[in-house]
Symmetry: C2
Subunit: 315 residues, 2 copies
C-alpha cells in the first residue's frame, strides 16, 4: 500500500523470454491479425491494443485456441489443428469457425511475419473468443511471435519432469460435459501454475496424472512412451486433448514399421519404459531425462524416434 508497492506493479518487469534470432525487444517482434472484427482478416499494429476490456477471453478465459508451428514461412500440421479447433469451439457452444477465414488470416500473418521479423521459427496462435460481454460479438485473432530460447534448450537437452495430480476423474468428460475435457480452452491458469511450480523446483515440465494414477498429458504437450518397438500414448478417453503432433508422429511411425498404441499407462510404466517424450507443435519434442527424480537414460534408438517427430511436423 505504499508507493514502493505501487512502483512494483508499474515498472516494466524483465522480459520473460529471450527470443531466438531476434535481439531483446522493448516492442515485441509480433504480428497480429484481427480475424473477425472486419469483413476480411486484417493486420493490426502490434504496438496497439486490439481487445476490449470486457472480452470474455480476457475476463473468463471463455474461448478456444490452437498454437501452430510456423517454420520457414510454412504452417505445419494445419489440418489436425483446424479439426481440433472446430471440435473445441463446438464443445464450448461457440459459432462454427469459418476455416477459410482463419486460413486466410494465417496466411496473412505468416507473410507479414516473414517480411517483418523473419525468424526461422515462430509460434502462430489462433484465439477464438466468445467475444464482448456487452455486445455478444465474437472475437478472434491470430498472433505470430518468435519462439522462446528455452524451447530450443528443451529440444536439445530434454526436460526434467515431475508428475502432478490433475484431480479430474477419468470418466468426468462423459458425465460432465461442462468440464470441457478434451476442448483446448483459454482457461489455462492451472496448467500455467503447474509449470511454474515445476520450475520453482528446478524442473522444466509436468506430466498430469489422474486420481487413479493414470498418466494423462503435459500442461502444453502430449506424452509419448517408447516400449520395445511400440510408441504408446494415453487414450483420449483418459481425459486428454487429442494431440496433433502425437497423431502426426504415429502416422509417420506406422509408415516406418513401428507399432503404435493407445493405452492406459501408470507412472511406473513410464519409469520402466525405453523412453518418454513430451510432444507439442512448437517445441516438437522434449525427451524426459528425469521423472520424479528417476533418471531416464537415453535409448539407443532415441535419435531415430526424434527424427520421426521432426518428419511428423514437416508437412
Amino acid at each position: 500500500m505504499n508507493s514502493s508497492d505501487s512502483r512494483q506493479l508499474t515498472t516494466p518487469a524483465p522480459s520473460p523470454h529471450d527470443y531466438v534470432g531476434t535481439p531483446a525487444l522493448a516492442t515485441p517482434a509480433q504480428v497480429i491479425v484481427d480475424v473477425l472484427g472486419a469483413p476480411e482478416p486484417q493486420l493490426c499494429d502490434p504496438a496497439e491494443p486490439m481487445i476490449f476490456a470486457d472480452d470474455l477471453a480476457a475476463v473468463r478465459g471463455d474461448g478456444v485456441f490452437e498454437t501452430l508451428m510456423l517454420r520457414n514461412g510454412e504452417v505445419h500440421n494445419l489440418q489436425r489443428h483446424a479439426t481440433r479447433f472446430v471440435t473445441s469451439a463446438a464443445m464450448l457452444d461457440l459459432g462454427e469457425p469459418d476455416l477459410d477465414r482463419w486460413l486466410a488470416a494465417t496466411e496473412l500473418a505468416a507473410e507479414a511475419f516473414g517480411a517483418s521479423v523473419g525468424a526461422p521459427e515462430a509460434a502462430l496462435r489462433w484465439v477464438y473468443s466468445r467475444g464482448r460481454e456487452s455486445t455478444g460479438q465474437a472475437t478472434g485473432w491470430v498472433t505470430v511471435a518468435p519462439i522462446a530460447a528455452d524451447v530450443l534448450t528443451a529440444r536439445q537437452s530434454g526436460v526434467k519432469v515431475m508428475t502432478a495430480e490433475r484431480g479430474f476423474r477419468i470418466d468426468l468428460s462423459e458425465r460432465s460435459p461442462w468440464a470441457l475435457i478434451g476442448a483446448k480452452t483459454l482457461s489455462y491458469a492451472a496448467n500455467m501454475a503447474a509449470l511454474r511450480y515445476a520450475k520453482a523446483h528446478g524442473l522444466q515440465d509436468v506430466i498430469f496424472v489422474s486420481d487413479e494414477g493414470h498418466v494423462l498429458e503435459g500442461p502444453t504437450s502430449s506424452v509419448v512412451v517408447l516400449r520395445d518397438n511400440t510408441l504408446v500414448t494415453p487414450p483420449i478417453e483418459a481425459g486428454v486433448l487429442p494431440g496433433t503432433t502425437q497423431a502426426a508422429l504415429f502416422r509417420v511411425a506406422e509408415e516406418q514399421g513401428w507399432e503404435t498404441a493407445y493405452e492406459v499407462l501408470s507412472v511406473q510404466d513410464l519409469i520402466e519404459s525405453d523412453g518418454v517424450w513430451l510432444v507439442s507443435s512448437v517445441r516438437v519434442q522434449a525427451r524426459v531425462t528425469e521423472l520424479d527424480g528417476h533418471e531416464m537414460p537415453r535409448a539407443e534408438c532415441a535419435d531415430e524416434i526424434e527424427q520421426m517427430m521432426w518428419e511428423a511436423v514437416a508437412h
Copy 2:
C-alpha cells in the same frame, strides 16, 4: 466454409443482456479504467480496445478478478473483496496488488459511471492479469457495467438449479497447489459451460458437487442453507472460494441471533433443509426454488433471511 459461414461470425449477434435502467445500446454503457498501464489509474474510452493480443488474461486465462456491487455510487463489501483479491494473486504468484492503486481506480470508475451511465446498480470488476506474454508487463483494469435484467428476475423469483459434478477431489487443494482451488482466477470457461448447460435445460443455475457428493458452490456464487435457526455453508476446505457475501451475511446473522456453521453438506441435506440460497456480490441472493427437480417451498422466515442478505451487502 462458404460465405454464409463467414457472415455468421462477422454479423453482430444480438446483445445477450437487456440492461437495467438503460436502453439497448450499440455501444455499451461501460466505464473502463486502466489500473497499471500508466503512473496513475486513468479512464479509457470504452469504445476503444485496451488489451494487447498477447495478454495472458486473454490467451491463458492467467490472472485473477473480483466482481463488486456498485450501488448508488458506493462499492459494497470492499474489504472482503480486497482481501480475497490479494490472496488469489498470491496463489498465482502474481505481484502483490497495490490496493491503494486499485481503490483509487475503483473510485475513479464509480464516479465516471455515475456521471455517464448513472444506473442505480452496476457490476464493478477488477481484473489483474499476468500481463503481456511478450514483455512480462503486468496489466490490470477496472470495468463498470449495468447489471443484466436476469439478475433482477433471479432476485425476485429465485432460480431452478441442477447439481453438477465438478470433478475435483476434495483434498486436491492441499496436495496440488497448482490446481488453484480457492483462487478466483480468470479461467472460468468450465463455470460458464455449466451455466450454459443449465440454461439449455430450462434451469437458471448450478450447484457443484464433489466426487464424494459434498456440496461445493455455484459457478459464480456461494451456497447458503437454512436449517432450523442455523445458516450453513460448506467449509473452505471442501474446495470452495471464500464467499464475500456469505461472510458478510454470517456476520449480520450472528448479530441478529442466528446460528451459523461451516459444515460438509450432501445434496440430500439441501433438499431436506428449510431453504437454499445462492449468494454473490451483484445478484446478492437468489433462492433455490427447485433442486434437481425437487420443489423447494419458501420458508416462512425467508423474508427475514433475505433481508439480512441485503443488510449484509449494504456496507
